[in-house]
């Protein structure tokens, strides 16, 4: 059913369509990474192919294969022509691929997932960060050389650029109107909780031990003074 699409691609791109196959009825063409964006754009815009429905974008790792290591595939579909096509390209490890997220909006998350799982970098992607895993995850789990039982280091506290996108947030988060020592803050010192105020509010656990000891010392001192006066 989609053979017409393959014919059309052969007609337009000629030698640049490296291989075609139709195993079990799945029509597929293989192109070079340099032709990736051009072929995908053509499939969407050409009136005879009219692939306006994004299907999927994924990758497969073949570390033992001679030549390029990764296969990147995009699955496209045409609503009007009721045709499907799979376009494949082959990438060496570390070789970037041009992003198609400006052509199909759906490719945005799919490419992020590919980057997350395989470490394939997509050039021109607007926001290429991990999507299913977290920023500090080491390695790319769907690579064949990533062992399934590998343990990841525990992330204690995040100090990452662009922290507003990641949990947990900074110390002031969620309490902007309270427990801020404005005096020291305006004097240009560190953001810190005022010990006396915090003790009053029963926030002892937020303070360091020495701060608590100081506050208690001060309280004892004033108690002694008032006792002496009495």
């Amino acid at each position: 059913m989609s053979q017409a699409v393959v014919e059309r691609l052969r007609e337009v791109f000629g030698e640049r369509i490296l291989e075609t196959s139709a195993f079990r009825g799945d029509d597929e063409v293989v192109v070079a990474p340099s032709d990736w964006v051009e072929v995908v754009t053509f499939l969407r815009d050409d009136s005879e192919t009219a692939m306006n429905h994004f299907g999927d974008l994924t990758a497969v790792d073949f570390p033992e294969r001679e030549g390029p290591r990764f296969d990147v595939l995009i699955f496209l579909r045409s609503i009007e022509k009721r045709a499907r096509i799979r376009v494949r390209t082959r990438l060496r490890d570390g070789e970037p691929l041009a992003s198609v997220s400006s052509i199909y909006a759906g490719a945005n998350w799919a490419e992020r997932e590919c980057y997350d799982m395989f470490g394939i970098r997509f050039e021109g992607h607007p926001d290429l960060r991990r999507i299913l895993l977290y920023e500090e995850f080491e390695g790319h789990p769907l690579r064949k050389d990533y062992p399934i039982d590998r343990a990841q280091p525990i992330v204690e506290y995040r100090e990452v650029e662009g922290i507003e996108k990641l949990p947990p947030f900074g110390i002031e988060e969620g309490q902007p109107f309270a427990r801020v020592d404005w005096e020291s803050r305006l004097a240009g010192k560190d953001l810190q909780v005022s010990p006396s105020l915090a003790v009053q509010q029963g926030q002892r656990r937020m303070l360091s031990d020495s701060a608590i000891a100081e506050a208690e010392e001060a309280a004892l001192e004033s108690a002694r003074e008032s006792a002496g006066e009495g």
Binding site: F23, D56, W109, A110, E164
Partner: protein
Amino acid sequence: MEPRDEIVESTTETLELPTEPMRLVMGPAHPAMHGTIRMVLDLVGETVIEADVQPGYLHRGFEKSCERGTWAQVFPYTDRLNYVSPMLNNVGYALAVEKLCGIEVPERGQYYRVVLGELARICDHLVCNGAGAMEVGAFTPLLWLLKAREWIFDVLEAETGARVTHSFGRIGGMAKPPTDDFAERVRAALPKVLKTVSEVEALLIGNRIFMDRTQGVGVLPKERALSLGATGPVLRATGVPYDVRKDAPYLVYDRFDFEVPVGEDGDAWDRFSVRLEEIRQSARIIEQALDQMPTSGPVSVDDPRVMLPEKDEVYTTIEATIAHFKLVMEGFKPPPGEVYSFTEGGNGELGFYIVSDGSGTPYRVRVRPPCFYNLQGCRDMILGQTVADIVPTFGTINMIGGECDR
């Protein structure tokens, strides 16, 4: 963040004071986020001006886990993809491996798969619509629809032995043939379910509060939905009549008379209505399938290289013992190759792209999760809406964490 005075002026005329956008984090521990989605929102007043939807909180390495067992051992994992309609995933994966091997399941097995699958689809839509209504304040529909789901679960439990995670699909057929009174029990349960659905419809369709909360809320335009790869009720609500059961019929779906309901505006109301109508269409399919289904004959292929032999034969004959041993220890070995097989899951096109290197272990199992791409449209749907509108929008996308995050 820069103060955004101009946006304030354009959205709320009465507000004169300049204001800064507020950053609000919704989820993952938020009841309406189903516990697995985090949304970082920038708000001006109550209006969402920027949103970052962050999935991944239920990621458990489905695709990696598949690469270390046998082909048959993937079935329990597929149950836990869309755990609201596990039977559809079971059958979807089985069809993918069968396509790779060129296996055709006997007719009775195909009808059996259709009936069980459509029951699962009804379950899926019951839960989605019930939970969606509950999240905007109508609690009764959820309770009634869950009661209806329980009647379907009774049927599924009698057939498979499990209420939710059946693991009932097999490569080349189903684990067991239908029970003797399968058709009667389905025919007894369906009218009760449909009656409950009508009662719920009477509560919600025409209900001013529910209409105000869903109509014109969370709109996804048609072209954008196609470009995003949306499928299922989310796409059909925008007016595209794309249903895999009609578009590329698998199993015996080409023998049934049913319609593909579509919406007009692509808003939360349309998605709700499309699901409601699909429940009735699924019921129609089930009735026709039960009429056409052969009452006797095998449900699985008769091939000892694919299907496990009967248990009593395993204990009494040496051939069956050897076949059982080989299948369990080495696994079934499909030919080398790659196929993409797609079925209509509860939320849209559920695709399995599988790569075989000819061994007993899958080389790669890629799931095309319908929720993942539907959820990607969530940002488009909620921009410019208020915080309260996120709840019905997200509810009618029917994000299922197990499938979205895998």
